[in-house]
């Protein structure tokens, strides 16, 4: 018995050690690569970022895109998800299909479809007011077409996050109670249901944010330059800086997910405390 246990321990140690090596070495090597210099250690790759051409522009664009995507996504999804729980339950399968279908279309294919639409539009709608819409969604300053793509890509993620949040709350009873107390519909939803979904809303927002920050495919094919595309162009000329940005983005993802975990934990404590 003791032999078996010690054998198990050896096996487990070996697995963990190998995994640790595989996952930690590239991180360490990246950090080292980004600060390694001919004469010792230098943080130029990090400090030089701010003054690098295009850095602030692309970062600002990405953050704007992320903010708009999160707002649009939540405004579209949250009312729909609450609605299928309190009334229109027949629409629930429809909603599930809508939130699953984007998984079937890889980003590259979605981009191909969007380009198809964008090319078709001007050919056929030249003389109609719709033409202006096509110009409007493609303006380089703030490409709304990217927001459309990102909202679609984030739908499955956000749906899953919100769904697990809604599961923990008896939306129907809450709304009934609020209505019985004389609250109108907007009030019942906004000040009773939504606060209960804070954790789920946060996690949906974080996941979307992480997705938009790292998205490269659609933006690069459509020819815009948000942050990820900028990193790519930098990578061709200044390797060290691109690695520095990679290290930073790993850190940012880490922080985002830790925040997410914290938010989730808080929610769990709350629900266990109240139930």
């Amino acid at each position: 018995m003791a032999q078996l246990i010690s054998r198990l321990r050896v096996w487990r140690g070996a697995v963990l050690l190998l995994a640790g090596l595989y996952f930690l070495v590239p991180m360490a090597a990246s950090v080292w690569f980004s600060i390694d210099d001919v004469d010792g250690i230098s943080f130029d790759a990090y400090t030089g970022l701010l003054s690098a051409p295009g850095f602030t522009d692309s970062l600002v664009l990405t953050l704007e895109l992320a903010a708009v995507t999160v707002v649009v996504l939540l405004l579209l999804l949250v009312p729909a998800m609450i609605a299928v729980r309190i009334g229109a339950s027949r629409l629930r399968p429809v909603l599930e299909v809508v939130c699953t279908l984007p998984l079937v279309v890889p980003p590259v294919a979605l981009t191909a479809g969007l380009i198809g639409v964008l090319r078709w539009g001007p050919d056929h709608l030249m003389d109609t007011p719709f033409f202006q819409t096509f110009v409007f969604v493609q303006q380089p300053g703030f490409p709304l077409v990217l927001v459309v793509a990102y909202v679609l890509m984030a739908l499955p993620l956000a749906h899953r996050a919100l769904d697990s949040g809604l599961r923990a709350v008896d939306v129907r009873t809450l709304v009934e109670a609020a209505r019985n107390c004389g609250a109108g519909w907007p009030r019942a939803v906004l000040s009773v249901v939504v606060p209960n979904l804070r954790g789920a809303l946060l996690s949906a927002a974080f996941l979307t944010l992480a997705l938009v920050l790292g998205e490269f495919t659609t933006a690069s094919i459509l020819g815009y330059q948000p942050f990820a595309v900028w990193i790519y162009s930098v990578g061709n000329s200044r390797g060290q800086m691109s690695v520095a940005v990679s290290v930073l983005s790993l850190l940012i993802t880490w922080v985002l997910l830790l925040l997410l975990a914290a938010a989730g934990r808080e929610r769990r404590h709350r629900t266990t405390a109240t139930s």
Binding site: A83, L95, V108, L114, D170, R172, F216, V245, S249
Partner: protein, 323 residues
């Protein structure tokens, strides 16, 4: 999940079919009462579905139009063709599975299948090792790290590996790997890189299933004199099988859809279908083949749809099993 009754003086008797109107027991499709009947008195029926209209409308335009564009485009002659622009054809689709495109499609499938298989084989022991560890801190750390790394795809991943194992990478220089024939910019290199986010993804996917394995089963097997190997072979693996297959398929799908990592790292040395689509979209195709990108996208969607058709029922099944 619907333990609390609705606090409404519901005229339930007036509606024999609909039940008391708890959300879980919502009217089955086909019953005459669509939205929960007890509420009909207070609120005009159909008010709730209005809230889903914006999402559905957005989806119809944002997703429906591109989908229609792909479908129609894949089956029509490109507008830049000399003859018959806009007429029906299956030439795009046949072209999209021939020659260089066939190579790319197969290479994508091979890479996805191989990485998904290795990811599954490596991810399960890792998850098990972490789960059975005595240190809670280690478990939490590994699970959080898996969450981070599973999302660490795309460009940063490519750059991190170029810095580590690329031609001027730290490990390459340290161990003179190039002399031993190592190259990151190859199929093998891409496999090693993809595993960096696929293994954590597998750990995340399989952990709930492994947690669902009851200790009693192992004890029962041991009481019947089963060896550890026999326990895994006859008890644990059959129970885990749906989750394993579901995880494999999920990994396959992620690897298949990935574009940024390969685009930044290997360029054109490893042909991949996602890369071919991007190339075709930027105009790197023969005249008259503008719609080829759409046909290639359709190929890709078909594969992804197959993946989802396998994954979703399995996921539902294992979710039921483990709860």
């Amino acid at each position: 999940m619907t333990t609390a009754p609705t606090p409404v003086p519901a005229p339930a008797a007036a509606d024999p079919g609909g039940g008391p109107g708890a959300p879980g027991t919502a009217p089955a499709p086909g019953t005459a009462s669509p939205a929960a009947p007890p509420r009909a008195k207070r609120r005009p029926r159909g008010g709730a579905w209005l809230a889903t209209v914006p999402l559905l409308a957005f989806f119809l335009v944002g997703f429906g139009l591109p989908a229609v564009a792909i479908l129609t485009g894949a089956f029509t002659v490109s507008g830049d063709a000399e003859t018959g622009a806009g007429s029906f054809t299956t030439a795009n689709l046949t072209d999209s599975v021939q020659g260089a495109y066939r190579t790319a499609l197969f290479s994508s499938l091979k890479l996805s299948a191989l990485t998904a298989l290795i990811g599954t084989v490596l991810g399960v022991p890792l998850a098990q090792a972490v789960l059975t560890s005595r240190f809670r801190l280690l478990r939490e750390a590994v699970l959080t790290a898996s969450g981070v790394l599973a999302n660490f795809g795309g460009l940063p991943l490519a750059f991190a590996f170029v810095a580590t194992l690329g031609n001027a990478g730290e490990l390459t220089e340290l161990f003179h790997l190039t002399d031993h024939g190592w190259s990151l910019y190859s199929f093998t290199g891409l496999t090693v890189t993809y595993l960096y986010f696929l293994v954590p993804l597998m750990v995340l996917t399989i952990t709930p299933a492994l947690e669902g394995l009851r200790l009693q089963w192992r004890e029962a097997a041991r009481n019947n004199r089963a060896t550890a190997l026999q326990y895994w072979r006859y008890v644990a693996l059959p129970v885990l099988f749906p989750s394993l297959l579901g995880g494999f398929v999920l990994l396959f799908g992620s690897a298949f859809a990935a574009y940024a990592t390969a685009a930044a790292m290997v360029g054109a040395t490893v042909p991949l279908i996602s890369r071919q689509i991007a190339d075709a979209l930027s105009g790197n195709v023969l005249v008259g083949q503008g719609n080829l990108a759409l046909a290639l996208s359709l190929d890709m969607i078909l594969v992804a749809a197959l993946v989802m058709a396998v994954h979703l029922p399995l996921q539902r099944r294992s979710a039921r099993w483990l709860s």
